[in-house]
Amino acid sequence: MSVAILSQGEHLIASIQSDLSDPEILIFRDELTERVGRERARGVIVDVSALDVIDSFVARSLQSLAEIARLRGAETVIVGIRPDVAIALVQFNLDLRPLKTALDLDEAREVLGRLKGGVNGE
């Protein structure tokens, strides 16, 4: 399966490198959320820029990935949704608002930093 997951400080960075079948997506989700606990990650970044199709199943799998990771103490940011893919996702009318997104890795790190700052500031 072509997903690379690497650990960087308190973040896990996963880049999906080619189109995945449904079972592969779910295996990836489970492996990533398992590593959140094992490596005590506080943030997860998933790079989907290699995906030229994100259908409703993939979108909802990413959403459930983010929810599971959150329950395990890590925030998730999806990066690299292509413009044409975003148009297709809008047509679906799915409520993807709970999913945090950023344009690239640097911006995703910023988003995670802000989230952490918000929690500490309370």
């Binding site: 449904d22 259908d55 199943f57 909802r60 044409d84 297709a88 679906f92 009318n93």
Partner: protein, 150 residues
Amino acid sequence: MENEVVVDITSDSDLVTARAEARALATRLGFSRTDATLIATAVSEIARNIVVHVGRGQIVMHLVREERRHGFVAIATDDGPGIRDIDSALAEGNASRGGLGLGLPGARRLMDEFEVDRGLERGTTVTMTRWRVLDELELLRERRRDESAR
């Protein structure tokens, strides 16, 4: 003939093939990148519908030419018992696979035309089309093509 592509759908990995073939064909037929993505996404949804509900089927994709527009047509057929309750299959929120995946309603949202023929004996056929209007240059080429064919 290169304007028709057939993908057999028998397993999860065939969805990956169907998406790739749909995109490649749409691009070859002159559809924009956005259109190709919408088409490939819709094909993915109907392919998943086959795998989840029946397990076995086929998707045929081809071009239809009209005077001022071209259509990308995808026809999905399966050998299953047919969809007994078509209204429920098309209802939003009636998602397959543990709440993941929109299935037919998802595909319908991405295409211009969408039709389901439920054969109770011979399986279900889903036919969907996305159109693109030809530009002036293409219209000229079409006309030349027709004239030389005469």
